[in-house]
Amino acid sequence: MAGLFGWGARKPDEAPAPERPLETTSTSVVLPRFLGAVAPRSSPVILDLGPAVGTNVSFLGERLACKLLIGDLFHEVRTVKSDAPEDLRAALMARLERTVTSPLDGVLCWDVFDYLNRATAQAVAAFLVQHLQPGGVVHGYFAAAAGDIDRYTRYIIQDPSTLICRYESVPTRRRGVLSTRDLATIFAGTTVMESVLLKTQRREILIRKG
């Protein structure tokens, strides 16, 4: 009866907010296609816009016998103190110019574009397309929902279709969303071969040039 009329009803203790995991596993249907597109190429060159991850270096080196260029663009995102977007854009382009010394067969951009405004994302994408070989491919993860980001995702290849996502806390930033149409626009001259919306509110995309 007390429950019916709310008399003396005790408010249930508020459930504590669930802790966000530090690591999750993600199945990928796009990564195998990326690897399949790069593998037949002779002495392929792959640009990784993320940080150096030992497991990924070993995996890509053994599987593809490739030359791997490590861009680590998030280092600039984290260290550029200026709030002016053009300063970050200049730093990113300078880093790309120093890193990319040969035509590219593949690009991995797993957690980069979410931190960039539209103009900077367009400049980076144009650079990548310019340096991609015909038939070269881009494998990227992009946010599918706008909001604030307070953690960086480090992707670790466990096997050709499984990635471990390891999260690191970062200062909160505003995140924009690039739809599949936006990506097709900023990556002008390429074709979106695959676009998968994941449960984690991220979009996994494979883009091909030519």
Binding site: A52, G54, G61, E62, C66, L68, T101
Partner: protein, 187 residues
């Protein structure tokens, strides 16, 4: 009254006390190590250390394993040996060795015939060329990693069948250690 007469016990043999350990008299004459042993026995590999306060500018080469804790600017060449860059070392040089272990800071390209290992406190900015590259969690690296040339472009799935039937070559006999070339040290 009920005590039985016990048979006389045989005399216990006298156990002499344990002999003291032999005292080895150490020779006071200094031991002179010869560069060329009489018999070709396997000698322990020597490891040269360059301390924290040492600064070298120029070319550094040798035929021994080397550990650097100081600063080197220029070029380091140890084609047949292992180079260890200690946690306090700061290297701005091109490095050529059989294997390299990085625990400190390197700005420059590294090329090895066996392996490059960057440990968790290590930092490298430059290009790596080696059949095997290992980067620990927490290590910093920016540049390129080339594992193509040393592998001859072989990929994981395309291992040649002949490799399985190739007999293992007999190990080469041990060679006497050569006298290392002198290294100029600038302080």
């Amino acid at each position: 009254m009920w005590k039985r007469e016990e048979a006389p016990r045989p005399p216990q043999p006298v156990v002499p006390p344990p002999a003291p350990p032999p005292v080895v008299q150490q020779s006071t004459t200094p031991r002179v190590e010869t560069a060329q042993p009489v018999q070709p026995v396997q000698q322990e590999k020597a490891n040269v250390n360059i301390g924290k306060s040492v600064i070298i500018k120029g070319e550094l080469s040798g035929s021994e394993d080397l550990t650097i804790e100081g600063q080197v600017e220029g070029k380091i060449e140890l084609r047949q040996n292992v180079l260890t860059i200690g946690p306090n070392a700061k290297i701005k040089a091109q490095v050529l060795a059989r294997a390299v272990v990085v625990e400190g800071s390197v700005q420059g390209n590294i090329a090895t015939s066996e392996k490059i290992e960057i440990r968790d406190k290590g930092s490298v900015e430059g290009d790596l060329s080696s059949p095997r590259v290992a980067i620990a969690d927490g290590a910093h690296f920016r540049g390129s990693i080339d594992m193509q040339q040393a592998k001859g472009g072989e990929k994981h799935e395309a291992k040649p069948a002949a490799a399985a039937s190739t007999p293992t070559p007999a190990p080469a006999p041990a060679q006497p250690t050569a006298v290392p070339a002198p290294v100029s040290v600038a302080r």
